[in-house]
Symmetry: C2
Subunit: 379 residues, 2 copies
């Protein structure tokens, strides 16, 4: 989506402004997750998840078809990933939480792609050594979330290119410059690696079909900014004889500064998984909120949780209980709950989460080799 | 070079019309191989070669610099290749003959690239399975020429992408769409694999420097149509901290039909290494020549060897002796030598060459594994 009267911008490489998800649905041509499909998904899953109930996963392409296939005995596999341009922050993990839940509930394989090549190509200052280091570091966060060791493989594009390249070539042959120019806004000064890259991101959407030589459905949970890659991949799939991958779109955990999504490059806008308790405290205390300029005004008029990153942190990650979340929302709006109290409580929950996560993260170092896919390996 | 008043066209993917090499030198910005450099090269090599004496290798970029480096004790390596879109014909082998001579004389390594990815991307009808089959078949011809087994490695891009990709990414990051559009004439409807491809062709020009982490000079003998790839590679080399590859350009063995270079896709225009004696006989008898319409006219006015593919077959491959070649030229021009006799003699020489070559080609099957470079291997 191009920028429009400075409102907002959503591309795979940049998200700016306050995102209007209803407009994204219309302009990207997504299907909202309606009550009927939500119900069917949670029934088949044998349970629900707060990211679904709260429609943080809010839209999809062909999720209904994935469930049709599943009911017909054709198991899907999951594919998601990360562009390793820095340390992992909590926003990156939102799609991963649901991906893990889907894996556990449907007992399916997951390919996790680290696009170290992409970040090298798109960030002038990054070397391949740096993006590799970030990728291996980010992989610890993936493993720490507890993905099924037998059914999950993580790969760096530059490590797994031996398998990816042939699939990517098949994709690339069907994608014109005209298409990527229109989809991603490339120009005469875009580098030729950037232009080619979408075929590398498309490849894992077809990998199980390519390897097993029969069509296997693929479901891709992702943050909605990555959708353009898979619009292209879905367009070419029939030409290659593959199923179109299904997509499940999440919203962005907002920046602590109040607008857009969090960014690896603005340390204060996000909580990183490696942050110390002091750093968490400082960032949350400095965060933008939906509160009023003075306590008196807040008590009188109430706050606005719908624009408040602190509230979204609870909604996306740190409040499991729907009733408690709703109570928090109402107490904020009524002026009963002040920002200081709300922030203090969030700091406690984040610090508790990170303490546990950082512990698992360290243990993940020993598991890294088991999770990483290299050379010509399959699983 | 773009087409101009229908005269001729030379691009990495198409050569049409009668090639004006003097104009190519001017328009590509090549340096002609002059007497001084020829002398220096053959002195350092301790011998000469008909492809040099006859200026079939006619131009270069930085060949003098390669010799400077060589004299200073910095050994170069050789890199050449083949786009495997069909069987090998004699025209393909012209640069290989000189490459082998250079390897033997200077005792240097050779990387031989099979661009199975390129041919897949540029030929709508070719699959990766087919280009792989051609590549392995073409490799037999390379091996049959007797390249030094310890110092020569052949790789298919799709097999060796694990090493090539990282180098190609570094190249791609420095090459804009604008550059490849201007160099190769890409358009909105070019596929994104074609646009990226030149970075894969550039990679072996830097591979020894990349692997050894110090600059190693590279000399690329090639048919002049491949020069545009290395104009681009040379432009970006300093930005990557690498030496510019030096280039040594050969002319094309003309098509038997009389214009352009031979083509894998027109069977009658070329002698393939797998042709039977009968096929050779038929093709040479049907070949265009510089002869006159009637024997009487030929005897009276003489023939024109300068436009005659049969004469060029002698000059490029089948006549070692400069005196004998000159005698043939004069006898043709005087009307003393008729096309029938000249063709009959050529048929004999080709058949003799192919009989031997086909024998070596079969023996090469056992050596294939030793020559092929895969995965992360280096040598």
């Amino acid at each position: 989506m191009r920028e429009d009267s400075n409102e907002f911008l959503v591309t795979p490489w940049e998200v700016r402004g306050k995102v209007d998800y209803a407009r994204l649905v219309a302009e990207f041509g997504l299907t909202p997750l309606n009550q009927e499909l939500y119900k069917r998904l949670t029934e088949l899953a044998g349970g629900t998840h707060k990211l679904l109930r709260r429609r943080i996963f809010f839209a999809h392409r062909d999720l209904d078809w994935i469930l049709d296939k599943y009911e017909q005995g054709e198991k899907f596999y999951l594919y998601t990933g990360r562009g390793p341009s820095g340390h992992t922050h909590l926003g990156h993990m939102v799609p991963w939480f649901l991906t893990k839940w889907l894996q556990d509930r449907f007992d399916v394989k997951l390919y996790f792609q680290m696009t170290d090549d992409e970040k090298f190509l798109f960030k002038p200052e990054l070397t391949l050594e740096k993006t590799r280091r970030y990728a291996l570091d980010n992989a610890l966060d993936v493993i720490a979330l507890g993905f099924n060791q037998d059914k999950t493989r993580i790969f760096l594009d530059t490590d797994y290119i031996g398998v990816l390249y042939k699939i990517a070539l098949g994709c690339a042959k069907k994608i014109t410059f005209s298409t990527v120019r229109a989809t991603f806004g490339f120009t005469e000064s875009s580098n030729i690696g950037q232009i080619f890259f979408t075929s590398i991101q498309a490849a894992p959407a077809f990998i199980e079909s390519f390897i097993s030589e029969k069509n296997v459905p693929c479901l891709i949970p992702l943050a909605v900014d990555q959708d353009p890659h898979f619009r292209v991949a879905r367009d070419i799939a029939p030409k290659l004889g593959f199923y179109k991958p299904a997509i499940f779109h999440s919203k962005f955990l907002p920046s602590l500064s109040g607008a857009g999504k969090m960014s690896s490059s603005e340390a204060m806008s996000a909580i990183f998984t490696t942050d110390s308790p002091d750093a968490v405290r400082k960032k949350i205390w400095n965060a933008f909120t939906g509160g009023r300029p003075t306590i008196a005004e807040q008590k009188e008029k109430g706050g606005n949780p719908s624009i408040c990153p602190v509230f979204y942190y609870y909604a996306f990650i740190f409040e499991e209980d729907d009733g408690a979340l709703e109570e928090r929302r109402l107490r904020c709006m009524s002026g009963d709950l002040l920002c200081g109290e709300c922030k203090e409580e969030l700091i406690g929950r984040i610090v508790e989460f990170l303490e546990e996560h950082q512990h698992k993260r360290e243990r993940a170092r020993d598991l890294l080799d088991k999770f990483l896919l290299k050379d010509e390996e399959t699983f």
